[in-house]
Structures are given as structure tokens and as C-alpha cells.
Point group: C2
Chain length 223, copies 2
């Protein structure tokens, strides 16, 4: 259906334009912007909670949440005292740059050092939509199985960071970590891989250090 392809290309082109504008605004403000993508239930919101708990005292954080329905995720982050806007997409399976730009225009985000954007729970659709972010993070929980990078190659190829979450459950599931590392490295040789458990705290320090290093690099580049 070539007509559908045309429309999709125009939608993506409009998104690119909004993403470019957003990226310029974030460059000017020195805000590090991270776009979190994963299946539903891999632990994105829990990772954000752990990030706020660890970095919130020293880094000004803001969160934008994308969901089909409910304000639950934004409520969880607001409860920790950070600005958190919930974008409800209706039926749409991804956030787009215009939605993020409208949300980020809120005064609460003007002074944040890091803007953490949790995309709609979906390993496929969000991959093609640039949100003006500095980098994408893909989150894969060990309960999802060790075949996922090759089954969903686009996001693993594009994400600069892969977080393998819920590693506290490794003793209870069949998950070949070495095989997953190899798949990710095949798809993206430069990907950074971090193992985390929000439950035990494992890896949260390493993850937050990665964010701080990226923020410092962006600020250094700006001077």
C-alpha cells in the first residue's frame, strides 16, 4: 500500500522536524535527554524511581511518561518529588516529538539537568520516533527470555545503552546472559550494557554513574 508508506514518511518527516527543534533547545539548556524503550513490564518506571532516589539530591531531574492509558507511572515519580508529566497517547504505540515538546514547554522542566522520557511500553513502534534525545536506552528484563535482541533488532541496534533488568531473578529463569551480550554486541558493537536489579540495588550505582558521565560530557562539549 504505497499511499500508506507515503503518509508514514510524512509523519516521520514532521517528527524529525520537531525532534530537531527539541534537540536545539536541549543543547542550549545543557539538558541531558534520555529516551527509555522496552516491552511493557520490563521495569522502566522502577529504574526511574531508583535513579531519582540515587541522583535526585544532586541532579535536577525531570520525567515525562508515555502511556496508552492511566496516570500511574507519573504518579509514582511525582511521589518522589520530581516533575513528571503523563502523556496519554490514546491508542498510539509510541511518543512523538511534538508531544514531548509540548510537555517539555512546562516551566517545571526549564531548569532540569536531565530529562528522562519513558516511552510507551513497546519494543517496536517507538524505535523510529526521534524525541530529540541524546541517546536511547533499551531495557530488557531477564524474565523476557534470551532471544529478544535478535527478535527485535532495530531497537537494540539503535540504543546506545542496554539495561538488563531484574537480574535478581536470574536464579529462577532460563536466561543465557552471555548469549544476550553477544546478540547486543553484534547489533551494536558500541552499546554499553549495564545489569541492574532495582530490588537488590545491584548495578544502580553503575547506571547512575553512566548518566552522570554523559551529563558531564554534554556540558563539557557545550563550553
Amino acid at each position: 500500500m504505497p499511499e500508506a508508506v507515503d503518509v508514514r514518511q510524512r509523519v516521520l518527516a514532521a517528527n524529525e522536524e520537531a525532534a530537531r527543534a527539541l534537540r536545539e533547545e536541549f543543547a542550549a539548556s545543557g539538558t541531558l535527554v534520555v529516551n527509555f524503550i522496552s516491552s511493557p513490564g520490563s521495569g522502566k518506571t522502577t529504574l526511574l524511581e531508583a535513579t531519582v532516589a540515587r541522583l535526585g539530591a544532586t541532579v535536577r531531574l525531570g520525567v515525562i511518561e508515555g502511556d496508552i492509558a492511566t496516570e500511574r507511572d507519573a504518579d509514582r515519580l511525582r511521589a518522589l518529588g520530581v516533575p513528571a508529566h503523563q502523556i496519554l497517547t490514546g491508542g498510539a504505540c509510541h511518543l512523538d516529538a511534538r508531544q514531548v515538546r509540548a510537555a517539555a514547554a512546562d516551566a517545571a522542566y526549564r531548569t532540569v539537568d536531565m530529562l528522562l522520557i519513558e516511552n510507551v511500553g513497546n519494543l517496536i513502534c517507538p524505535t523510529s520516533y526521534d524525541l530529540g534525545e541524546d541517546f536511547k536506552v533499551v531495557v530488557l528484563s531477564v524474565t523476557e527470555g534470551d532471544d529478544k535482541p535478535f527478535k527485535y533488532p532495530a531497537i537494540f541496534a539503535r540504543a546506545e545503552v542496554a539495561v538488563i533488568s531484574k537480574v535478581d531473578l536470574l536464579p529462577h529463569v532460563a536466561f543465557d546472559l552471555a548469549a544476550v551480550r553477544e546478540q547486543i554486541s553484534t547489533l551494536n558493537p558500541h552499546a554499553q550494557i549495564v545489569l541492574t536489579s532495582a530490588r537488590t540495588g545491584e548495578g544502580v550505582g553503575e547506571w547512575c554513574a553512566l548518566l552522570e558521565a554523559r551529563l558531564a560530557a554534554k556540558r563539557a562539549h557545550r563550553r
Copy 2:
């Protein structure tokens, strides 16, 4: 973007037409057709393997697999001796009725009693695409969290059966089963809910009995 909406409506209308034709073919052959929808990694393929292991000797089963990439899932089912066609969607986040119709035209499917269609791993996109099935099954693993039905209401409202999978992991995760049952019942008061663990075998008998009852009902209705 009203133009995009128009195109989407035409795509859905074309799908409906193909689905109607498929449904007529399956009515004529008395084949029970089930459309499995879930997040990546919730255990759809493993549930199909358990179904084949239990029913394969008495019911003629066929499988159609949908994935973005890789033949892994179809390979797993073929290894159990059932016809299994892998549809690779390229980038598309769901199967459509025309793809299923083309796959089901293969002679291997002409004599099956039940056709089990595993959709692309995605809780959102497959919901709107009728594949000519008798009913949809949504699979939710307990590791995905107990907020999912209300966060992805469309599929839970439309699926006649909800399988809560990986219940062997309940002792290791925070998952409020009563809350999930309530959300599902709110969205679809007639939904049947089955708890399964492919690992321990819990619930697999109940699940297969449900399939057999549905098949018997379809055949009885036909006479």
C-alpha cells in the same frame, strides 16, 4: 493528521475484508482459530509448546508465528512435529489477515482442527487487526507487573481469555493477583482467566481443556 487517519481506516477495512473471508473458510472446515497477543517474552511460544505436548496426540494442531525477525519460534514448534509457518513482518508491529490467509493456504493447514496464531510481541498494535480468529487470548506474565490491564485496556477488553503465565515466579515478584483479576473483569466481565506455569505444568490441563471445549462447541454449532 486526518490523511493518516483515512489511510489507517482503509488499511483496517481491507483487513476486515480478508478476515471475513478467512472466518468463512475456517467455519467451513470447522477449524478453531486462536489469536495469541502479549508483550515480548510473556511466554506465548512456551505456552504453545506445552499445548502441543499435551494435545498433539489427539488434536491436529497447526501454528502460525508472527515476528519482526528470526525463524526461532516456528523452529521451536516444528521441532515438536506440528506445521509451523513463520511470517516475518519486517518492521510491522502486528500480523494482518492477508498474511495469515496466505500462510494458511498451505496444504499442511488444510486438515488441522486448531490453528494457533502467535502474533508479534506487542500489547498494542495487534489489538485492532482481526485475523479471522474465533477468539483472542492475551498472555500476561506475573513478572510484568500487576498494573498492566488498566495500562493496556484495549486488548484486555477484547480478549475472551486471559492467561496469567509464569505463576511459578509469584513467590519472587510483587504481583497482586486479586488486583489483576479485578482489572480484567472490569474491562471484560466475561473474560475467562487461566493461571499457568509451563515450567511446573500448573494450569496447562485447564488451559487445554478450555481449548478442547471451544473446539467441541464450534463443531457442535456447525452440525
